[in-house]
Structures are given as structure tokens and as C-alpha cells.
Amino acid sequence: MTAELGAFALALSLALSLAQVGLSIAGRITGSAVLNRAGEGAALAAFLVASVAFAALLQGFLTSDFSIANVAANSHTAKPWLYKVAGTWGSHEGSLLLWCVWLTGFGAAAAMFGRGLPAGLKAVTVATQGILGTLFLAFAVFASNPFARLAQVPIEGRSLNPLLQDPALAFHPPLLYGGYVGFSLVFSFAIAALVEGRIDAAWARWVRPWTLLAWSLLTVGVTLGAFWAYYELGWGGWWFWDPVENASFMPWLAGAALLHSAIVTEKRGALGGWTVFLALLAFSFSMLGAFLVRSGVLTSVHAFAVDPERGVMLLVILAITAGAGFALFAWRAPSLAPGGVFAPISREGALVLNNLFLAVAAATVLLGTLYPLMLEAATGQTISVGPPYFNLTFTPLMAAALLILPAGPLLAWKRGDLKGALQRLSLAAGIAIFTALAVLAMNDWKKAFGALGVGLGVWLVCGALAEVVERIRLFRVPGGESWRRLKGLPRGAWGTTLGHLGLGLFVLGACVETGWKLETARVLGAGDRLTVGEYELTLDRAGVVEGPNYIAERGILFARKDGRVVCTVRPERRFFPAGRQTTTEVGLCFEGLSDLYVVFGERRATEAGQPGWVVRAFWNPWARLIFLGPMLMALGGLVSLSDRRLRLAAPPRRAEAKA
């Protein structure tokens, strides 16, 4: 019964989305406030009804209703409740439903919170969001029904892929999708701006909070995914330049560029056309990602909901929406009035450079991801584009962008004083250069790139702090005055600082981890030892333990540093009978910012002929920063979002002054 209710709700949501499109367009044409309100009401209703559909599927998973094909394929009675919940979005159909809930949710948000928007702009935004909702909901209803029943109800389900049964990955899809789909509203805003022919400071100010929200959610989602790959796959790595990872990274890069260009449009009325282009691009990348992940056209280590036939339909949706969006852009953008002018050395100039590097970086990731596919289609030749390619192309681009980053916030709008900015950054630059040289002196030339990376990270961290110091005029005015200024800093400024600080910490973590990680593998019997870095691991014992839906072999190892036990790690190798799959459960020992990372392997006789186990241990220095940094960046986004100036639905109109 619940499943039928869900299927009905899903179809109803589609009907309401259609109504949302029709009513809003009619409202825009006739200028009728009643029709506009009706369209907004339909948007809200579509969201509520889509949520009911989602709740119905959730109920099916929680009660293990195996008469629903999707539940039978992705759940199991013995699964812990968290993973029953996560199973809801663990399949193709379920994750598409989640996508639709977010999509209608953002449509409802535009209807609810857009009070200060001009009626025409709002109506077109709501209508565009409705078109997106209609396309995806139609796909869900007609080709990807999560509520299909089975004629023969199985006694037990086939369970969720055990790799996905992990806390980080339980929350990863909802956040990631929040980010992907959050860009849909930005897309709709861009379409509305093109239709209305109005791109100005006020428009940029409406777009920025939604961009911030989507980008922050995406940041957290991608980070959770990377963290999961780090400790669940058991390879000791966290980013593999895999097509699926790239798929999530492209909208992130476009979103980051958009965040910065929207500032220029808001503050200075410039770059309007480019900001609209990025707004269209971010969601197009999101949809491309959804297509790449599900279609299976690219092989990936983490493609979980692959279904080539239905993937093609996503490609059709992508072609329709992105195609229409960019066609509209090509038609309307040339007629947009150019915005404020600025000198090359200015805050705007720095942000333009930022956008140049971010956009080229995103294009590089796109090229590297799709090139094998295009080459195969064109010549039939199969090649691979892997991490070495991205390390040689993407990394230098980003390094250049990061090098100029700290100067940006210190330059004035319109016409900046580069010499003054650099003077104020001289201490930060000094610390960074000194650190890089010190690191180089302590290591050999092989670590030159690592030393450069560390220097860059320190430069970013110190640069972010220098900006705060500059804003509060520390040591240049009395302490009390500085304190007063510190308290008076707008949240938007804190957001910038936190974001750039987080980026710096990430760069530090990534460079130190990549350059200085250590690895040892040995066959250990009970009582045997292995050494990794300054740590000595002793296998105390190994045994079989039983989990709720798996059985595992678990090793208990003591980690000693300077002869003292610093922690006990319990890595496992789990076997899930339901899916006949085995996973590794890494044993992690948190040592400050670094990780001792232990993987427990198969049985094998030791050199002495005793029973033993293969143990692989990593020392991952400063690995914590790789995940803390991006979290800080997302926090920066949210702090910025809470800025009073952005929270207010509408700023006073300054359009006349800019025109």
C-alpha cells in the first residue's frame, strides 16, 4: 500500500511540476499575480508530494518490504538501520528519487524565499525549475520507477553493496546531490536573467547565496566521498582522478569560479555575461556527472548505479537543458550591457585571473575525463588518461591560481595597489619561502616538489591570516580599536578567510601526505612486528568476529612509539554472506594530524612456517588536513551565507545607479 502511495505521489509530483511550468509561464506572459502565486504554490506542492514519495520508499526500506523490487535488490533484514536508510539512495532508482526531491525542494525554496524578486524574474525562475523538475520526474515515473512490485516476494533481500555500508557513505549522497542539484536553481536564475535581459548587481546578489549553499554542500559531499575512499578501499589513497571523482569535481570548480565572479557582478556590475555562463555551466556539469556515473560509458572504481540504457536518457535531458540554456545565452548575452570598467591590477582583475585558472582547470578535467571516449569514438583507439596526466596539467594550473590568491583580497576594487598589497604580504611570503627552504634543507632534492607544495600551503594559510590582520589594522591602531574592528567584521569576510584558510590547510595536508607517506607490508604471525616510520606494530592476536550482517577476521595490533604503546588498532577483513562480497575495514590510529593506517590481509605462512597474516601499514603524515581543510572551506561558505546582507531576501534596488 505504501508503495502504491509512493508511486502515486511521484506521478502527482510530476503533474504538479507541469502545472508549475504552465502557471508560471502564463503568469509571466499575462503579468497576473494570481497565476504567479499559483505557480509558486504548485512548486511547493510538488516538493511536498515528492517528499511523500521519498518517505514511502524509506518506509519500504525500514520495514524491509521485499515486495518492492528496489528494496529486495538493495536491502536485507540483517542490515543495521542506518544502512537500511542509506539503501534508499543506494540504487539507480532511489538516488534519482533523491535527486528529484532536492530539485523540487530548490524550486519550492525559490517560490518561498524569493519575496523580493521582481515578479517577472521570479516567474521565469520558478518555471525553469519546473521544467527541470518535469524532465527528471518524468524520467523517474516512466523509466525508473522505484516502487515497482515483485510478483514473487523473496524471503530475503539481496542487500546493499557492502562497500557502501559505511557511515561516511550513508551521508555522502544526500549532501553531494544537494550540491549538484543546488546548482539547478542557479541555472534557473541564469535562464530567467537571460529571458528578462536583466543581469545586474541585484541579480548577482540573489544568485550568490544559492551558489554558496550548493557549493558548500558539494564540498562536504565530495570530501565525505574522498574520506570514504581513503579508509574503505584500503589503498591508502584519497583521490584517484577517477571519472566519477572528476564528475563531482567539475561542478565544484565551476561553482568555485561562479562564487568569485558573482562577487564582481554584485559589487561592481561587471562580468555579468560570464557569471551567467558559469551559472549555466555548473548545473550542466552536475548533469554530465549524473550521466557519467550512471551510464557506465566510463569505467570507474566507484560506479554503483550503472544502467547504460537509462543513462542515455540522462544524456538526452542534459542535451535538452544545457543545449537550450547555452543557445539562449548565445542569443541574448551579446545584448547585455557591459558593466563597470576596472584596471588590470584591482580586486576585479585578481578575480578574473582566479576565474581564468579555475575555468581552464575545469576544462582540463573535462578533457582528461572525456578524451578516451572521444578518441575511441573517432579512431577506435583505446587509451587511458590517469593520474599522471592530471598531475602534469591540473596541478600547475592550480598552483598558479593559488600563488596569486592571497593578493586578491588585499587589492582595492577598481584600481588596486599591487606594491602595497605585496608589502603587506611580505611577512607571509617570508614565512612561506623560509618554510619551503627549511623543508628542502631537511630532505634531498627528490622532495623539491613536496617542499614547494608545503611552501604554497604556508603561503595560503599566512595570506588568509594576513587579510584579517590587515582588515583589523592590527598593531597599527590601538589594541582596543583592533578588537572592535575584529568583532565588527562582516560574516562574509570571515567566510572568505575561512575558505582560503581551509584551502591552504588542504594543500599542506595533500602535499605532506603525498610527499612523505611511508608504507610497509609483511606477513605477521602472533607476536611478530613490523616498522613503519617511527612506529612499531606488533600483531597481538587475530580472530573471527561476527557482525550484524557479516563475519570478519580481525587482527589486534599494538602500535608503539619509542617503546611505549600509543594505540591499539583493530583492522578487519569482512565477509558479507548476503552479497558474497568481502571488504576491508582499515584500522586507523589518529596521531595528531597524521594517521597510522593498517590493513589486515589474507592468511599466509610466515617465514618461520607459522600461521600468519599479511599486514600492510601506512604512515600518512598530516592526512587529517586533507579532510579538515575542505570542511573548513564549506564552513566558510556557510558562515558567509549567514551574512546579514545575503540573508535578506532583497537588497534595495540599485539597478538604476548601475545602468
Binding site: 523580493g116 589503498w235 584517484f240 577517477d242 571519472p243 566510463l298 570507474s300 572504481v301 560506479a303 570598467v341 576596472f342 588590470p344 578574473v352 581564468l356 581552464v360 576544462a363 582540463t364 578533457l367 582528461g368 578524451y371 579512431t379 583507439q381 583505446t382 587509451i383 587511458s384 588518461v385 590517469g386 593520474p387 599522471p388 596526466y389 602534469l392 596539467t393 594550473l397 577598481k414 584600481r415 562582516p490 608504507e519 610497509t520 607490508a521 606477513v523 563475519i551 577483513r573 565477509f575 568481502t582 590493513v599 589486515f600 590481509g601 589474507e602 592468511r603 599466509r604 599479511v614 600492510r616 535578506l648 532583497a650 537588497p651 534595495p652 534596488r653 540599485r654 538604476e656 545607479a657
Partner: protein
């Protein structure tokens, strides 16, 4: 329990490239082999290098690379040896060839092209960074605006600055 043991027995090594039984006795050669592993794709896997992969074929490729390294071949020779057998697909770093020119040069071309465009436009407008002076009407509006807001961050306070009819409607 028996199933568990069977499952574990059926799996190959988690240690992948680090597996102690595979390693070369010479640590310098072993380090070179490890560096090379990251460049080769495990040809049957989803998208893993042979350094990470636990698949059987990855183990085979690792053995090949180690044998080649132990036999004193150069890195380029090892790459050539594997490409001869498995095609260019095995290389995670595509060759720098005419066929792959787009792949390697497009990012650079984009950067140069877009950078050049920005510079050109900056040059063109560079001489006139100052906006035209305000008209009398604009001056008057500026006067009313600055009269009731002295701080940059306060202009969006709940009370609109009273610039036009639209603002009044919004409050």
C-alpha cells in the same frame, strides 16, 4: 565459518604491490619498479593502477615490470615492452604524440587564448578606467543615499534607503 575461510582463500592479496612475496631483493630496483607501477593500468580493472589493484592480472603485470627492472631495462624500455603487449591502453599517462596533441596542448592553448583575450580587453579599456562623471540627477540621488547611510555595510538594513517606488513596496 567455512564459508568465511573459503571466501578469504578465494581472494588474492590485499597487499597489492606491497606484497612481501613479490618484492625484489634490491631495494633501489624495487623503488624504481614501484614508481613505474603507478604509470600502468590494470587492464581488466575498473580504473586502477597495477600498484593499487588486487586483481590477478595486475599481479602478473607487476611481476613482468619487476622482471624487466631486475634485467636492467630502462623505464622507457619497460614502457615499450608493456605497450607492445597490451597496447597504449596500459599507459595511465598517454604518450605525447601527434594523435594526443589535443589532450596535452589544449589546456595550454586555452590558458594562452583566454589570457590573451583578457589582456587585450584590459589594454583596450585600460586607458579609461574612470567611469564618466555623474549626471546632475545621479549626483542628487547620491546625496540622498549618503545622507541616510554612512557605513558601507549598513545599506541593506531593514529600512530601505528610499531610492524609488520599488523599495517602498519591498519593505
Amino acid at each position: 565459518m567455512r564459508r568465511l575461510l573459503l571466501a578469504i582463500a578465494a581472494l588474492c592479496c590485499i597487499a597489492a604491490a606491497a606484497d612481501p612475496s613479490e618484492q625484489l631483493p634490491d631495494s633501489a630496483q624495487e623503488a624504481r619498479a614501484r614508481a613505474l607501477f603507478a604509470e600502468f593500468r590494470c587492464v581488466v580493472c575498473q580504473n586502477e593502477s597495477i600498484d593499487d589493484s588486487e586483481a590477478e592480472v595486475a599481479g602478473l603485470l607487476r611481476r613482468t615490470v619487476r622482471e624487466q627492472v631486475a634485467a636492467g631495462r630502462t623505464d622507457a624500455e619497460v614502457r615499450g615492452y608493456l605497450v607492445d603487449r597490451y597496447g597504449e591502453f596500459v599507459l595511465l599517462k598517454p604518450t605525447f604524440s601527434a594523435g594526443n596533441a589535443i589532450l596535452w596542448l589544449l589546456p595550454l592553448a586555452l590558458l594562452a587564448g583566454a589570457g590573451g583575450l583578457i589582456l587585450w580587453r584590459a589594454r583596450r579599456t585600460g586607458g579609461q578606467t574612470d567611469e564618466p562623471p555623474l549626471s546632475a540627477e545621479e549626483e542628487a540621488r547620491l546625496a540622498t543615499l549618503t545622507a541616510d547611510e554612512d557605513g558601507r555595510h549598513r545599506f541593506a538594513s531593514t529600512k530601505p534607503s528610499g531610492a524609488g517606488e520599488d523599495d517602498r513596496r519591498m519593505s
